[in-house]
């Protein structure tokens, strides 16, 4: 394995470069995935049948909490990658851990939110609107949940193996994923919740 010392660790080998470009392509596919969900959401937004509409079930308080938690986690993972570039293993681990804990808190809030919806009579089966609402939120939430495990695995690897071209590459790609989920959340926050509450 040839290591190019002039480049950041995550870009230092040929395979690392391929991995990062490949992940950007994957994010392109993810953008299409969420774009389809959003397009379907806007189409079905008013198709509430006999179920509730968005303005009847959305509550701003938990959503604000979720937003702050997720945006903060995007900041801390940025710090984590910065620490990784400085080859500070301890700080990297700390910031990644904080990120994952914030992610866990986000998922916790979202689970509570889902149960509230179902209690209020807005289940997956209620109407076209609730189907697409819970699917869109659920797809994002499932991504975050998956990310928790993925991030945990990488964390363990950094702890055991240190900051190598391989672990640095994985951490960097994971940070791309995490930032992407944040961007998707900003869209959900603006165009699902805020628009729905107006």
């Amino acid at each position: 394995m040839k290591v190019d010392q002039t480049k950041p660790l995550e870009y230092s080998t040929e395979q690392n470069n391929l991995n990062i470009l490949g992940f950007w392509m994957f994010l392109g596919a993810e953008i299409m995935l969420f774009a389809t969900l959003f397009a379907s959401y806007f189409t079905l937004e008013g198709w509430t049948g006999s179920g509730p509409s968005g303005s009847e079930i959305f509550e701003i308080t938990p959503v604000i909490f979720e937003t702050f938690i997720l945006l903060t986690s995007s900041f801390t993972i940025g710090l984590g990658v910065h620490a990784m570039r400085l080859m500070n293993k301890k700080a990297t681990i700390t910031f990644f851990s904080i990120t994952l804990l914030l992610g866990l808190a986000f998922v916790g809030f979202e689970v509570v939110e889902f149960f509230t919806y179902i209690e209020e009579g807005a289940a997956l089966q209620t109407s076209a609107f609730t189907s697409i609402l819970l699917s869109t939120l659920g797809t994002h939430g499932a991504h975050v949940t998956f990310g928790l495990f993925w991030g945990l695995f990488i964390l363990i690897q950094i702890k055991k193996r240190g900051l190598t071209p391989e672990t640095a590459n994985k951490s960097f790609i994971f940070s791309l994923y995490w930032h992407f989920l944040d961007v998707v959340w900003i869209f959900i926050f603006s165009f699902v919740y805020l628009k729905g509450m107006m």
Binding site: L18, M25, A29, S40, G49, S131, I132
Partner: protein, 648 residues
């Protein structure tokens, strides 16, 4: 419904019992054969765990040929049923199932697999690479496709096949009107295979963008590689739409969601839109690689450079963009209004422009060329007129006002078969014959190959031209029978004759493979066609590492340049070569996907959860695994090169 009732087929008939027996016997024969010849270890080490793009390509090829016959059997049954008025060979349920599976099998499991086969084998060789960017993912792609196809194919004998058409429009495909598990198979099997396709898309984009031989700029790439790049871009941007649509359909059918229902706000037209937002680009995912293959074969056998390289590239890119803005033309009659229909009419007809450019470029390449008529060239020459007829009738269908007359008639069926057969099937057979010597080290017999070509091309015309007439006379597609008074009988009988000719043509191809395997000369060198691009510059059979020394490229026809103008492709010393390790995980993980799919189809939740955990375990294993591949030492490279006929 009782739990076990779901596994019963909704319309038992002797044909289905016969296929049950046939499937069981085949499975037993395969297991017994492999055990008897003690090939399990070989099969596992060399094929099931391989990450080599060439072997994966071959496995795609075998699967595609099998699926061709599977989908072909459906086609023959369809044509046999409608050959006579008031025929009772099949009942309506059975007919619904076979036209649905014919469409799905041919598009998703045959044509896609065939394209993947040629792309996998050829693209890394054409760009002078050692393998694809992510060999392990490539294996995963294949096995997801394979197990998805297997899941779809057992539907016929367990629980019943999907019966709502390959477009599976809701509300027909919803629980209310499609009560058997058939449509569950559709939603889930295509989802699994589609995941594999998406992964291939990402893999090949990175491979083509990052792993080209030094000197090969984007505008020096062979045309097949160009078409593969654009195709994979379309895949990455179109397949997620299908993923979402299938997931919504699955939620509707399994969990009582209300996306596409007719009550509680559901919107059935959303399915039609999402399906075709994927479905139309999918058409171009199939046709662009075919265009790429013709652009390789025509210059080779006309002994001229490809005419209009830049306009070829530009038209591929233009087609890929337009492919995303025409989807409404699949349902002009479903109530969008004149304004929307007109816009989509114009975009649809606009596609004829870049396609026309390509047709003229091929014709100009032939102009004043020294043409040799080989089997691949015959397919390419046959493609141009038949495809043009199919394409021009497509422009007719694209006029939204006139489409009210043609919509859902046999005219439409004739149109899309006459683009897809010369466009895709001819191209795949041409590519198969063309690259066969590189894959297997001998050539397919030319005489039998020409017979196949004539049977298939005449069969295509005989099978589908009559449908134009019966369609204009008002015969609707997907009708399992019709009365004698309609006068459709003669046209359908002609179609049946054409279908038989097509079947005969495909049988001769299999015979050709058998005959050539036994009798063809193995002494053909590495460049039997006197071809132009890099895949012919390496040895036959291609060594594991493809190229011992990475080639230096200076033009879009690098190998031709090296042969005729003395350009030196390979210079430098042998170095040790880094190779990826084989892995069984892609196979195992995809097999677990099959279990997951099966348990979802039949709502066996416990098993589904166990399978999900299994998939998760495979992912975790991959995350923690430290696999740095292995190195082939210089001596071994030297030895292999000398054994294969001297240094290159």
């Amino acid at each position: 419904m009782d739990f076990f009732d779901r596994f019963a087929i909704p319309h038992p008939s002797p044909v289905i019992y016969a296929s049950m027996v046939a499937i069981t016997l085949t499975l037993v024969a395969i297991v017994a054969g492999v055990t008897y010849t003690k090939k399990w270890g070989y099969l596992w080490r060399e094929w099931l765990t391989t990450v080599d793009h060439k072997r994966i390509g071959m496995m795609y090829l075998i699967s595609a040929l099998l699926m061709l016959f599977r989908g072909g059997a459906d086609a023959i049954m369809m044509r046999a049923q409608t050959a006579l008025p008031e025929n009772t060979l099949l009942d309506s349920q059975h007919y619904n199932e076979i036209f649905t599976t014919h469409g799905v099998v041919m598009i998703i499991f045959m044509a896609m697999a065939f394209i993947m086969a040629l792309m996998n084998f050829v693209v890394p060789l054409q760009i002078g690479a050692r393998d694809v960017a992510f060999p392990r993912l490539n294996a995963l792609s294949f096995w997801l496709y394979f197990w998805g196809a297997m899941l779809f194919n057992i539907s016929f004998v367990i629980g019943g096949s999907p019966d709502a058409g390959w477009t599976s429009y809701f509300p027909l495909a919803g629980n209310e009107f499609s009560q058997s598990v058939g449509t569950n198979y559709y939603m889930i099997a295509i989802q699994i295979a589609g995941l594999g396709t998406l992964i291939t898309g990402i893999n090949f984009i990175v491979t083509i963008l990052k792993m080209r031989a030094p000197g090969m700029t984007l505008m020096k790439m062979p045309m097949f590689t160009w078409s593969a790049l654009i195709t994979n871009l379309i895949i990455v941007f179109a397949f997620p739409v299908l993923t979402v649509a299938l997931a919504m359909g699955t939620i509707d059918r399994l969990f009582g969601g209300n996306f596409f229902t007719t009550t509680d706000g559901g919107m059935d037209m959303l399915w039609a839109n999402l399906f075709w937002v994927w479905g139309h680009p999918e058409v171009y995912i199939l046709i662009l690689p075919a265009f790429g293959i013709y652009s390789e074969i025509i210059p080779t056998f006309a002994r001229r450079n490809l005419y209009g390289y830049k306009s070829m590239v530009a038209s591929i890119v233009l087609i890929s963009v337009l492919s995303f803005v025409v989807w409404v033309h699949h349902f002009f009659t479903m109530g969008q209004g004149a304004m929307v229909n007109s816009i989509f009419s114009i975009t649809t007809m606009a596609i004829a422009i870049p396609t026309g450019i390509k047709i003229f470029n091929w014709l100009f390449t032939l102009w004043k060329g020294k043409i040799t008529i080989t089997v691949p060239m015959l397919y390419s020459l046959g493609f141009i007129p038949i495809f043009t007829i199919g394409g021009v009738t497509g422009v007719m269908l694209g006029m939204s006002a006139a489409d009210y007359q043609y919509h859902n008639t046999m005219f439409l069926v004739a149109h899309f078969h006459l683009v897809i057969i010369p466009g895709v099937v001819f191209a795949m057979l041409a590519g198969l014959t063309y690259w066969w010597p590189k894959m297997f080290g001998f050539m397919l017999n030319e005489r039998i190959g020409k017979l196949s070509f004539w049977l298939i091309s005449i069969g295509t015309c005989v099978a589908f031209f009559p449908m134009f007439i019966s369609g204009l006379d008002g015969q609707a597609r997907r009708m399992y029978t019709y009365s004698e008074a309609t006068g459709f009988g003669i046209w359908n009988m002609l179609s049946f004759v054409g279908a038989i000719m097509l079947a005969a043509g495909f049988v001769t191809i299999v015979y050709n493979i058998y005959y050539s395997t036994r009798y063809a000369s193995r002494d053909i060198g590495s460049d039997p066609w006197d071809a132009r691009s890099l895949e012919w510059a390496t040895h036959t059979p291609v060594p594991d590492y493809n190229f011992a020394i990475t080639p230096q490229v200076n033009s879009s026809e690098a190998f031709w340049d090296s042969k005729k103008n003395g350009h030196k492709l390979f210079s430098g010393e042998y170095k040790e070569i880094h190779m990826p390790n084989n892995s069984g995980v892609p196979f195992i993980m995809s097999a677990i996907f099959f279990v997951l799919g099966f348990s979802l189809v039949f709502s066996i939740w416990v098993l589904a959860v166990i399978a999900l955990l299994g998939i998760f375990a495979c992912l975790a294993h991959r995350s923690f695994e430290q696999d740095h591949g292995y190195h082939i030492p210089v001596e071994e490279v030297k030895e292999t090169e000398e054994k294969l006929g001297g240094a290159r």
